[in-house]
Amino acid sequence: MSAGDVNQALLADLKANGADFFVSVPCKLLGGFISTLEQDNEITYRAVNREEEGLGICTGAYLAGRTPVMVMQNTGVGTLITSLCSLGNYYRLPFLMVVSHRGSPGEPIGAQVPMGTAVETLLQTINVPTYMFSSPSDTKKIGQLVPFASVAEGPVAAILDYDFWGAR
């Protein structure tokens, strides 16, 4: 499956599970997926400046009955911890974070590795259900995390590594 096909399949599976409102902060790994979001007329998609802002906008959309997904790089988890706790967890806001895993095997930039190593533990420490995905065939499982966030009544994270896009 080509990277473009993976991105199409991922969006199709997220939409099939009810996701209809997307925000993103850029990442090289997510570039193709973000283009896929930009070209889809059936969803609401907005680029935002920072993950916390994205969480705020997703919260507003959730309060209006939408099903939001935040698309972001794992480095953004570091800026998001407080708001994930005091907004996402405290108000039990169900939404999915689709997180690219920079700093994992395949990574060419050393500066990405410390956060790449910490991200899963950080999310687990604040009790955000977190799942790692490495295969292009995982898009269905990732899509199923949209309703799972409602079942779990809170934020849920899917972390997608280089192999998910066949990028190494």
């Binding site: 907005r46 919260t59 209006a64």
Partner: protein, 187 residues
């Protein structure tokens, strides 16, 4: 005039608008003056009242008012550019600027030393961005409620808060009654 008196002055203007209120002290003040299911009291996540209001305004026709603080807006300045690009006619950001971090002991913020949030909002692309004295805020808000936004009102007030108690609502109660009220307004 302090924030409390400012909130007293604007409360009579609120009817079917949805209000996102920033942090504990301002939320306690608004709750004690007027409480309805159209209020979302955002008790943590400092800086995100503006962004939550924007996300809501994208999805509903009612006017959305985010009540924010100067210290909080300084923590999330980037969202002013998103508010400008989004260009929602039904969104008002009311920044109650007391030049201090009121919840933590009134340490001065940078607006107390010359930073103009109205000028920053205007430079971000929100044409209707004005600074007014606190006593004039209600008149300005009434005007903004009648004209297409987005609007940013920076209302200058004195620091200080009355002694109040925490809002006796759980986070889930705040969430659910607000979400239900939005749902009703949409049908």
């Amino acid at each position: 005039m302090r924030r409390y008196e400012l909130l007293q002055s604007i409360a009579p203007l609120l009817t079917d608008e949805f209000v996102i209120c920033n942090l504990g002290f301002p939320s306690q003040e608004l709750y004690s003056i007027r409480d309805t299911d159209h209020h979302f009291y955002m008790l943590g996540s400092m800086g995100l009242s503006s962004s939550i209001g924007l996300g809501l305004a994208m999805e509903i026709d009612n006017t959305v008012i985010s009540i924010d603080g100067d210290g909080s807006v300084l923590m999330n300045l980037g969202t002013l550019s998103t508010i400008a690009l989004e260009d929602r006619k039904n969104f008002i950001l009311l920044i109650v600027d007391n030049g201090s971090y009121g919840s933590t002991g009134d340490q001065p913020t940078h607006t107390a030393k010359g930073t103009s949030l109205a000028a920053i909002a205007k430079a971000a692309g929100i044409a209707s961005s004005v600074e007014v004295a606190g006593v004039d805020a209600a008149e300005k808000l009434a005007e903004c409620l009648k004209t297409p936004g987005p609007h940013v009102i920076v209302a200058k007030v004195e620091p200080g808060s009355p002694a109040l108690t925490p809002i006796p609502l759980s986070s889930l109660a705040i969430r659910d009654r607000f979400r239900d009220a939005v749902k009703q307004a949409r049908t």
